[in-house]
Symmetry: C2
Subunit: 416 residues, 2 copies
């Protein structure tokens, strides 16, 4: 049997959160150390409620990703807004953090899916977590993993079944089995037959839809993904395999569902799709703005920095938000983030053109603004990719309605 490994969850997160809250709530943003990650809770709530319409108006279940923020607070807003009881986590640290939180006690959270193909060293955690939440779920997309799971269960006399989605590839080419191989049928057949598996259905992620530059393009990605997922289902069902759940999604395609909610095409596109999932929709970012499916007013996350120096001879501004505060992820617009002077009126006045570890460099800025910026002045950066930017920060400062008063501090779980 495979060596088992242990999830290392940072201890003392709640103590630290308490002390940060004591120090920060009620303060003005300008009283805080920079760089700081700022979340506008009003926008987050609005984004999540918008997602909920997919459930209320189209009767399709929603599953929300928590990997963007990894906090219980934002997960609660997502679950309540989207009228969902199902999440995807990207790590077992997130799984423990969410499952051991009040979300389960409050009956808000019933399904937790580990959204990365499990390796056999994590089966101890799989069955530990399966005993703590109504349905803990995993991906399998390889027969060797199923072999290892069955062997583990036999050796341990494990009485529980693992809840398994078969991860399918609908064109993204990252994880998941292809539709056209005999091995795919064989794996699905084994998952259905295994006495150690409760086979849930198929799960796809259309990550390639991030390339959308119009709402219509995103709609096309959605249609292709749904068609592809149904093709998997049909092929499996022809071979006597029952597919109870088809879960598809990604932020651009899910935003397209909302955009085209009243369009007759949507119901036919989603025919047979039982669940849609999305993550970045809750916070959005500069990448998502490039798809035209959200505007800057829909972006709930920003990084606050300060002007640290000005170099008139090379028309360059140095800010204290660099690669460790913004991440080095890229976006179609180029550069590392839009520069705003105000979170109430989100008008980009410049772009962060270069970053190194702690340095952010702004060169694309008009002369009048260059002259008016002063050392120590607060700037707000709309980051390229909310998930990677949040991962840079140990805590998030929470505001409401674009106001500059801290109303809360959230502490994410990290690690694996």
């Amino acid at each position: 049997m495979e060596q088992q490994t242990v999830t290392n969850i940072t201890p003392y997160l709640s103590e630290w959160k308490q002390s940060l809250q004591n120090n920060m709530i009620g303060k003005k943003l300008s009283e805080l150390r920079t760089p700081s990650l700022v979340i506008d809770k009003t926008i987050l709530e609005r984004n999540c409620q918008q997602l909920g319409k997919i459930h209320t108006e189209l009767n399709t279940n929603i599953r929300i990703h928590v990997k963007t923020h990894k906090t219980v607070e934002a997960a609660r807003i997502q679950l309540e807004g989207a009228k969902s009881d199902a999440i995807v986590v990207s790590t077992l640290a997130e799984a423990y953090f969410m499952i051991e939180s009040d979300l389960v006690k409050d009956q808000l959270l019933k399904q937790v899916l580990l959204g990365f193909p499990i390796t056999p060293d994590k089966f101890d955690d799989l069955f530990k977590l399966s005993r703590k939440v109504a349905s803990f779920q995993i991906f399998i997309d390889n027969p060797s993993t199923l072999d290892a799971l069955e062997s583990y269960c036999r050796l341990r006399n494990e009485s529980l079944k693992a809840n398994v989605f078969l991860k399918i590839d609908c064109g993204y080419g990252r994880a998941g089995i292809p539709v056209d191989q005999e091995e795919s049928i064989e794996l699905a057949r084994r998952l259905q037959a295994s006495e150690h598996v409760n086979f849930l259905g198929i799960y796809s992620h259309a990550g390639h839809s991030y390339a959308s530059q119009t709402a219509n393009a995103a709609l096309e990605y959605l249609e292709n993904e749904c068609n592809s997922a149904r093709a998997f289902r049909d092929r499996f069902e022809q071979h006597g395999i029952t597919i109870k759940t088809i879960s598809i999604g990604a932020t651009p395609t899910v935003k397209a569902i909302i955009r085209f909610m009243d369009d007759a095409r949507i119901k036919s596109i989603l025919q047979g799709i039982t669940e849609v999932h999305a993550g970045a929709y809750a916070f959005l970012d500069r990448q998502q703005v490039s798809t035209t499916l959200g505007t800057l007013d829909d972006v709930a996350v920003s990084v606050m920095g300060r002007v640290a120096s000005k170099y008139p001879s090379r028309h360059s501004i140095l800010i204290d938000a660099g690669g460790l505060a913004l991440s080095k992820d890229i976006a179609p617009q180029g550069g590392f983030g839009y520069v705003l002077l105000d979170l109430k009126h989100k008008k980009p006045v410049a772009t962060v053109s270069k970053v190194s570890q702690e340095h952010g460099i702004i060169t694309d800025i008009d002369q009048e603004l260059f002259s008016s910026l002063h050392i120590g002045q607060i700037v707000h950066i709309v980051p390229n990719h909310c998930c990677l930017t949040c991962a840079c920060h140990l805590y998030y400062v929470v505001i409401e309605e674009g106001n500059d008063t801290v109303v809360d501090v959230w502490v994410p779980v990290k690690g694996w």
Copy 2:
């Protein structure tokens, strides 16, 4: 006076380190959760001792960057190896962590430089830290910051002087004043004259030397930086400003000093340079290997991952080390890291070609190896950029001589 802000240092780091050490020391790497950052202490020590030759053979002082790792343990190895008592930190969190560690008590650490132009909201910390270590030092490269410092000191009746380096730009164009402007002379003159400043000298960082692809190219960057720094000094001295210290450096140029140690040119290139500084030299990475000034055997850091799935139809391997474990920083070789099967014999067998948050994708791999890799198998990734990769991890697993037994666990400080 400017609003003051507070450094938020994660509490309980030593308690957590203790518990990680209890759980991990003596274990095999294969018993650990992946992804995990692994440091080979033997290589780290060798790299640091090599740097020490600059001090012993050329009589030039060395200042070591701790921003790569942000641990007391690696800082100690750097200081002892390089026979130095001076560090650069990139954040005030690092400054507190290092200054409140045993390094000061053990008299190993006497000079701590905040290597980013300070903003006026941090002056409380500046003078707090100045009272805890022999010499706490800052950069100033803007007259407004000096105005703010003088006003702060007057209002507070601050009795200490701030130890200030004037940051100069020798061609990198990131931070620092230019040589050819009247304002640069004026700022240096004010720093020398200010009753609140102890003016230390000038400081440059040749970050553009990372583009070196040969040792000779790095030597040329070194010569240019030294020439440029001396031009600053000469210009300032013509205006009656005394420059006591000239600090220059970056890993490629400092590695070039070591490579050409016995070359007669080195002494003349370093003429008048009183201090060299470097950071990544201690760990190295794939970017540094591209400069040809280090080999894979000199790289002390890697990320351990596991094969999570295999997709024969698209000749693709999924590993559990993605953008959050490796960072998304790039390197001239392309991709996100070299794949090794063994830390004793570092032969790259493939490249991580794509990463998303938790997914690492390997497609550039020969068929025989593809077939032989099994689910759960351990792989080691040499990351593109050691600083950004270390920043992804909450703890580092330490080994010696490429062996697969854990000898220690180090916990870095994070945040700002």
